[in-house]
Symmetry: C2
Subunit: 199 residues, 2 copies
Amino acid sequence: MPPSNAKARLIETMRALLRRKGYHGTGLKQVLQESGSPRGSLYFHFPGGKEELAAEAIHSGCSAIAARFAGLDLQRGPGEVLEQVAAIMAAELEGSGYEHGCPAATVALEEAPFSDRLQEACLTNYQTYIDLLCRLFEPHVDDAEAAREWAFLVLATLEGAQLLAKTWRSPEPLQIAGRRLRTMFEARQGGDRVSKGDS
Amino acid sequence: MPPSNAKARLIETMRALLRRKGYHGTGLKQVLQESGSPRGSLYFHFPGGKEELAAEAIHSGCSAIAARFAGLDLQRGPGEVLEQVAAIMAAELEGSGYEHGCPAATVALEEAPFSDRLQEACLTNYQTYIDLLCRLFEPHVDDAEAAREWAFLVLATLEGAQLLAKTWRSPEPLQIAGRRLRTMFEARQGGDRVSKGDS
């Protein structure tokens, strides 16, 4: 098997394990076993070991999701797109027996504050989603700041709904999130200019 | 030191470690060290070991948050209360140097699907918050189902915003979530009756 395949297999295995068990719960032994890779191959491709492999796995997961997002028909407007994204997330989670979540979420929660490389990987991952969502919202709201606020709100809601769907082992939290986000976006009336000085 | 204090200290230490490092990242050795407890004390109070202690830590965190929620002035209406809750979460996270998150979130994401006891603890934890939020919304929306949908939406958004605030090391995602949830709740117009058959 050529090295490039071995590398891809290591990344894919790590990504699946991060989604299921998080960073600390994933041992390199298991990664090697499940990917069928010899130890030497791991350190050849990832001299930084587990941390470097995990960062790569997060980047790869992010690229896969960004590609899927780009394949959606964004012309249908943010409300419908959001409901569709939530439905896709619900179907994936259900299809995996509620094992597969966001590979970055567990790492971001676990890795308080001790690894700059993993922190950076999580931040890049979520910043990519924020940028995608900003582009989705910008043509439909007052200004770039409103688009950014919607992007943060939506990403937070979907990530949190995925956590709750995993906990309940039910697609319902994601279905509610998709439906409510759509309703709220479509029903907003001049609500994009939020006063920040009223608290 | 009487056993009850030793038990409380173990729970408190475990809770702090879950918030920072998650379940797999927390070793019993570290729990014993940081709580200043002998190993015998741990198995005396928690015959089920780490898993039982973690479940107790999640329950204890949940009770603490429920008590704080009960102390808020709920008469001011859901919008203002939500913004205040988000502000409290942001201040706590900032005050801990972005280390302290939700003790249940990391466990819920990590523990796919292998521990019934931890799954149960996470579910009870989030169900408690859903119940509290339902009581907050019920007097202000159309019916119990609308209150439940708001409760899931709000819990998802706040949990997700906490994850993003941790990743960005900034209170902003929680501030945006609080502000937007408030605006959207206060601006809703007959939006509580969401059609579920239109997708």
